[in-house]
Subunit: 185 residues, 2 copies
DNA sequence: GTCTATACGGTGATAGAC
DNA sequence: GTCTATCACCGTATAGAC
């Protein structure tokens, strides 16, 4: 992918994550990106919605990678989830609670209003769910549950400016996953 | 509370829930509310932020009520949570996935940008957490966990236009709560 | 309490030069 | 590929009449 396009995408991701889709202006994205001002509509001819959609998918790819790395810390799926959660909590603190990636914002804001963005977000969450599902021997419902729990906990962490919700969720999740994975055998 | 003010608040709640805080204009709120156009800055002299903050708190009061009613369906906390979750899932379908109340949107969008809105959202979530905590003999961490799970599941339901995530979460949650409540005895 | 008019900045987007 | 000028529109907020 072209450098300027990539810069725009990453700047958009940061801004969407912090303040949301509608609160972020195109000018702001260009300013923050350092990319040439004329290149925005060159690389994203369909405008802001396209930027949102591509940001969602790109960011979900990143997140899926981090999830896989985090889950690789232990062979035991339940413990792996706990460790991933603890790592996420630390990341949230380092990011000063501008956390969870742009996907949460894009997903919430587009769910009812924008067909296209919504479709992209659905696919994006699918990528993340897949990263969990691999670790859970293909148990998709469990993967989706874990994903939902982490998203919810991250939301509360943003609001409370404290990663406690995520740390606690990690703890509870370990139990849930252990239980569910044993049931299968 | 004055009728016009109440109308504005409820219209704002609906719009914030559907499309978010920044995507909703003051004009739109007035149009939707049916309240006199001149009354907006009369009842909300501090403007949009005040509307957001009061909407968050009012809506959280409503939600806390619904949570209490839902949880009253069973004496067993674990089963009560499952029933509340199933009821929520149905409500989401009826609302055509414009779900979860305005609080989720307000919280996500204001977490980093607006000090005042963020404070209101924090308090609002506190009200909801309290409604759970009562049922869990004061177990605040568990209450917060359940709250986080439901918020996360609602987010995924919005994205996927399917209440499945909430139904499944309700199922998993019953197990979690049962486990945690037994541990205490 | 409510209304209208208005200020002023910002929005996403397009056209055409280079 | 990039820039600048410009578009029409919408945002929030205020002033002052009634």
């Amino acid at each position: 992918m072209n450098l300027a396009k990539q810069q725009i995408l990453e700047a958009a991701a940061r801004l969407f994550e912090k303040q949301g889709y509608h609160a972020t202006g195109l000018n702001e994205i260009i300013r923050e990106s350092g990319a040439p001002k004329g290149s925005l509509y060159y690389y994203f001819p369909e405008g802001k919605e396209q930027i949102g959609a591509e940001t969602a998918l790109w960011s979900a790819g990143q997140m899926a990678g981090r999830i896989r790395t985090g889950l690789a810390q232990s062979d035991d799926p339940a413990e792996a989830v706990r460790l991933l959660g603890l790592g996420t909590a630390e990341a949230i603190e380092n990011a000063k609670f501008s956390a969870g990636g742009p996907l949460m914002m894009l997903a919430a804001e587009s769910a009812v209003s924008s067909e296209r963005l919504n479709a992209a977000c659905r696919e994006a969450y699918g990528l993340m769910q897949a990263a969990f599902s691999e670790k859970f021997s293909g148990n998709e419902p469990l993967a989706r549950f874990v994903l939902a729990v982490l998203e919810g906990a991250i939301l509360l962490s943003r609001v409370n400016h404290s990663a406690d919700a995520v740390r606690q969720a990690a703890q509870y999740l370990e139990t849930c996953v252990k239980l569910e994975m044993n049931k299968e055998k």
